[in-house]
């Protein structure tokens, strides 16, 4: 592998234990020289608003550094990623996604029919648009827009440049490093395939485990084979998803029932829980017959938190 590719790859490797303790003194020549080097030459006032407009083709977006996938697993990107939106707001069972091409400051790896934007005033540096690394992402992992540009106007065409072995290695590395993007939608597709019924799925993360609660219809528990064929919310039978677990300080039973348009979550436990939405808002519930009921929940990710036991239960409903 080419040296430069190796160095770039080293940026994504897990931290190794190299003890480096530097203790420069205030009269250190290098310290004072470096300090004077950039002395107030730069304005660091960011003029990019962290706005979140409706995604559109031609926009550059920064991707969230972490997100929770459809199976409630926390996923973290090894590197920050900026993408160019090439197709926006496609829908798959009401979940919005966009097709994006990552951008990279390593313009020297330009090859084939790649595009380069040489104007550093757009996002601070010239960049390569990775046309060969296009992939879908769920809109929910787009963090904020870096502005709308007529990107075609800025592209400097470089003609057809040979794809050397070094450039091919760079592409491979970039495809690997951006798996974080496509994982959002791959996890969603897997969820759709594996959900308990034909139109509804519930995943609960509890006690460090991801569990699919059992599906019940009129108090009868169905295994996944039969459950897959069942539709929820169409006939009049009483259908719900249920999970019972032991926590360190007591038991909990979680029941999720689907209405035509929304869901009702019931929590049976002696432990006090609050329910929070994905954007960290506390949702009001009502107490009834030894349970807490949270009604009119829309599909999404929810957190059941207990202040006393410090346990966190994540619930994905779709």
């Amino acid at each position: 592998m080419d040296d430069k590719i190796r160095y770039i790859q080293s940026l994504t490797e897990s931290l190794k234990d190299f003890p480096f303790e530097f203790e420069a003194q205030s009269n250190d020549i290098y310290f004072n020289q470096l300090k004077a080097l950039a002395d107030s030459k730069f304005s660091l006032e960011a003029n990019t608003l962290k706005s979140k407009p409706t995604p559109r083709r031609g926009q550059l977006w920064l991707i969230k550094s972490t997100y929770e996938d459809y199976f409630t697993n926390g996923v973290e990107s090894v590197v920050p990623i900026i993408v160019l939106i090439v197709e926006a707001n496609e829908s798959l069972e009401s979940e919005l996604f966009s097709r994006v091409q990552p951008v990279s400051p390593f313009t020297e790896f330009l090859a084939g029919d790649d595009y380069v934007v040489n104007d550093p005033s757009l996002i601070g540096f010239p960049f390569l648009i990775e046309t060969w690394n296009e992939q879908p992402v769920l809109n929910e992992i787009l963090d904020y827009s870096l502005g709308s540009f007529d990107i075609d106007q800025y592209i400097s065409f470089k003609g057809n440049v040979d794809l050397t072995e070094q450039k091919a290695d760079f592409r491979k590395l970039e495809v690997d490093n951006t798996a974080f993007l496509r994982h959002s939608i791959l996890s969603y597709l897997k969820f759709l395939e594996e959900r308990q019924t034909e139109d509804t799925g519930v995943i609960i993360s509890i006690n460090q485990q991801v569990v699919k609660p059992a599906f019940f219809a009129d108090e009868i528990k169905y295994d996944s084979h039969y459950a897959y064929a069942a539709k929820t919310g169409i006939d009049n039978s009483n259908k719900y998803f249920e999970l019972e677990e032991k926590l360190a300080s007591g038991n909990i039973k979680i029941r999720i029932k689907r209405n035509v348009e929304d869901f009702i979550l019931s929590v049976y436990s002696d432990i006090e829980f609050v329910l929070k939405s994905n954007d960290n808002k506390v949702l009001a519930g009502t107490k009834a017959e030894g349970r807490m009921i949270f009604a009119m929940l829309t599909p999404g990710l929810y957190y059941l938190e207990s202040a006393s036991t410090k346990s966190l239960i994540k619930i994905r409903i779709k």
């Binding site: 190299f18 420069a24 107030s40 960011a46 996002i123």
Partner: protein, 318 residues
Amino acid sequence: MNRFNINYINDLLNGKLSLEGYNHILSVVGYYTKLNQWSVSVIMPEKNRDSRWEKEDYEELAQQYFEWLLVKGKLNYIHKVPDSYRSYYFLQLLMSFISDKIAEYQKTTGVSYSAIKRIALEILEDRFRKEEREEKVFWSGGDVVIEDAMAAPDLDECIRSLPRVAITGKIKHLKPHVKNCLLSIFEVYQFPIEQETLIKSVYKLFDQSQFHTSEFQSHNSNVELETESGNNYKSQIDSLVLNLSAIDCQIFLSYLFVNDPPSLDLLASKFKLPKSTLHAKITSFKKKIAAIYIPVNQDDGVLFLKNVHDALDKIANQ
């Protein structure tokens, strides 16, 4: 992944770098130096390839890196780089800077044995036949391999007629050349070759002769020399010392016009200048001498340098 703390980078750009921030920047630079096994001679050409990194070498690397950022205009639009991307941006640029330095270093010193060895082993593992005998590794290639070691001719003799690869600034990637060397060797030598002997033979096929010429030697052999008989070199020397300060002249006199030049470390502390600045001054003056005057013969060269010495001495003592 070890990252620059963006607060310290911002402090640096604002001219408010603290000692703590400086030590942090050095520790990150040191971390990637160690991780990628960069040779100290890339930064300090007067050091041996295998020399150990000292604290001030890391300081020198950091200094040169930030100077490079400024010279290359990489910070002109730094305010446009998203906050959460900035730390990674600086690391990417560190890799670009080092790759540039290594390419520059290779252009003046040829290629290292360790680089050839690393690449050769990569290729050998990939496509040649490996065999272990008496704790030694042997490699063979091609369809016909003669196993009778007694019949093996002298390897050096066999490869003597093979063409050499001239290392020039145009060569950016060694791998294809190393691969060709291996193929050529196995084409003319159909016996298994012990690993270390094989790699040494590959290394020998790289013609590094152009890197052993004196720095003062003119690169343009077609220049028609002007006879300077009776000339006291006034116009050349005036142009050479134009805008030089007394300190500059003292530096050149202490380093270039003595039999046993002091180390750059000593000189740096004597003149209270960072080694990078000192190194840049000396290199640029040497280049200027080489460009400004081409001696007709050795005596002419000695006489010219004596005149340069006198001119420097005059300014240094003003």
